[in-house]
Amino acid sequence: MDMLHIRPRPGQGVYVFEFPVRIWHWTMALAVFALFITGHFIGKPLHTLSGGADDLFYLGYTIMAHYIAAFILIIGMVCRIIWAFFGNAASRQIFLPRVWDKDWWADLKSDIKWYLFLSKEPRIHMGHNPLAQLGMGVCVLDIVLMCLTGLGIYQSKTGDEFFHLFRFVQDFAYWTGGNVIDLVVWHRIGMVILVAFVILHLYMVIREELMGQTTLISTMVSGFRLVRAAKTAKESAKRQ
């Protein structure tokens, strides 16, 4: 049976996030955090307090860290997309929400109701719920655009032939009537969207961890999703 449709008894776990997915998730989290911090200081650098140009290279190192984190993110993203072909059903959800599926839309409706406080009990999802799938999909798209604009800026600065593959990003910026500075601006707007995503993501997982019926944060650590023991005696009686 499809792992997404298993409905385990309370206290029982389902293996949802496979090892590569979990490793990827936490690598992303660290890389994105590093990229936020370094990116912020590249855009608005601090003035050095001591030393001079002969012995200091702090902004240079910041940019280097940004590039390293970016390459980790890009390679991770590529590996993750490849994994989506081999992983379980949950590993494909963030790339391909099942919008052609009627049940998916019904689930989405119930999710929206749950978040608007219109329904008392959330549905149990073994993978991501439809709303989360949409959110993650936007996030993945945003990260891809960030990678592209970033590579577009990077190739304009490096002499490495390989990165001239991404010349098309720069050509696109010129095609729109701008220049490389537009890539910088788009990169910044993409960052804003990513920050918004991170805030929402953190809020949602903490909320679901406290209010929902399944585990979330520990699932991303151990890979197992547990349905919590229901709190009312009636429900447990029903389950028995």
Binding site: L59, V180, R188, M211
Partner: protein, 415 residues
């Protein structure tokens, strides 16, 4: 000047009283600018000495003539002479003596004489609004002159930002509907040499290249002369070390400005501008804007007038009604998201607490319910057991009863 035996560039340069030594210096410098090896200087010199001069026709559309100005006003007379001699302008309406009908006749004559061999340098661009009436040259729209000139040209050079990208007259809302040269001339190679103004040395290098190699130089993806537009100003900048070290000018005339620190925080567009200013410099190599203490405006880039202040790196985004920047959008989005999360979290907490309270009460009620049911079950069990003990009269009645009791209790606990 003899019309019948074609003059070489070397002859034209010597005719202007420039020494052979300076000529060779120029050749070596040009080889370096083009990124060629040292020995190529000699090859360039040989080509300029032996091959016929490459005529350049220079026409002005809608422009401020600053490109011509930068050409003829280089402070060092030698550089100017060499470059002017190199270009050997056969027609330039700004600096030639002829005017009116004479000038028109000169233009017609020149393009006829050098048909298929000359370089058409276009400064400025043709307006399309009001059928081109915003720029009249010789009683006809400039577009006509551009098309006539380009028809017989070997190549068209879009000289300066106007011709390459549109510059200030193409800035929003582009009232005269100007178009850069590459959007008008499609049947001839167009080499862009953007800049406001463009660097004069690039033109002499271009001519030297075409004469030496009998071919047009490589252009990048945007059609610019690749040798000069392959790197950002930032990556060749004399103040780059201050950027990497985190030493910035924070406000005009502060200590950092006096020490020549990086102008990044004063809105320098060097990091996103392709040009060769730091390598060629201006006014015969005296300096270039950043070296002189002012940030790069990005004048060689497309749409640089429309991208917000010259003194800020945060670009305006016109799509959002009133001019917004990425920063204001960021603050707005961040604020909305945080506020939304806070409100939703508060509502969630309230509903969650309500629900748990309801559940507790329900659980209490049910616990009582179950307790009574259990008690019933217990009594029934007890009677059953009692009956059993009576019937079998073998085991200890009390033990069985207590066993039954614990069993029923277990059941209660489980539920």
């Amino acid at each position: 000047m003899s019309v019948h035996t074609p003059e070489t560039h070397y002859e034209a340069i010597r005719r202007r009283g420039i020494s052979r030594r300076d000529f060779l210096k120029f050749c070596t410098m040009t080889a370096a600018f083009l990124g060629l090896s040292h020995s190529m200087g000699a090859k360039i010199a040989q080509a300029l000495e032996t091959k016929p001069r490459l005529p350049v026709i220079w026409i002005n559309g809608l422009s401020c003539s600053c490109c011509t100005e930068s050409f003829i006003r280089s402070s060092h007379p030698l550089a100017k002479d060499i470059i002017l001699a190199m270009i050997s302008l056969d027609y330039n309406d700004t600096i030639m003596a002829a005017a009116g009908d004479q000038a028109m006749a000169a233009f017609e004559e020149t393009i006829k004489k050098y048909r298929g061999n000359y370089i058409l340098a276009v400064e400025g661009n043709p307006p399309f609004g009001e059928e081109g009436m915003f720029c009249i040259d010789g009683g006809r729209p400039f577009l006509h002159k551009l098309e006539t000139g380009a028809a017989g040209a070997k190549a068209v050079v879009a000289w300066g930002n106007c011709a390459s990208w549109g510059c200030v007259q193409a800035a929003r809302p582009n009232p005269t509907h100007v178009r850069p040269v590459h959007k008008v001339i499609h049947d001839k190679p167009v080499i862009k040499i953007p800049g406001c103004p463009a660097i004069p040395e690039v033109m002499s290098a271009l001519v030297a290249y075409i004469v030496t190699f009998d071919s047009l130089p490589d252009v990048d993806g945007e059609g610019r002369f690749a040798s000069f537009y392959g790197k950002h100003v930032h990556d060749q900048c004399v103040r780059r070390a201050h950027f990497d070290a985190g030493e910035f000018v924070e406000s005009w005339d502060d200590e950092g400005a006096r020490k020549g620190y990086c102008l990044y925080k004063m809105g320098c567009k060097g990091p996103t501008t392709f040009n060769a200013c730091p390598a060629t410099r201006w006014n015969n190599g005296v300096s270039y804007p950043i070296e002189s203490g002012h940030g790069c405006l990005g004048c060689a880039e497309q749409g640089f007038w429309d991208q917000g202040s010259f003194y800020s790196r945060i670009m305006d985004i016109p799509a959002f009604g009133t001019m917004a920047t990425a920063q204001t959008i960021g603050k707005a989005v961040g604020g909305v998201v945080v506020a939304g999360v806070a409100v939703h979290a508060a509502l969630s907490a309230v509903s969650h607490l309500k629900k748990t309270r309801c559940e507790k009460e329900a659980a209490q009620l049910e616990a009582e319910d179950i307790a009574t049911t259990n008690a019933d079950a217990e009594t029934s069990l007890k009677t059953k057991n009692a009956a059993l003990t009576e019937n079998e009269a073998s085991t200890d009645a009390g033990q069985a009863a207590s066993q039954a009791h614990t069993h029923s209790k277990k059941e209660g606990n489980e539920s």
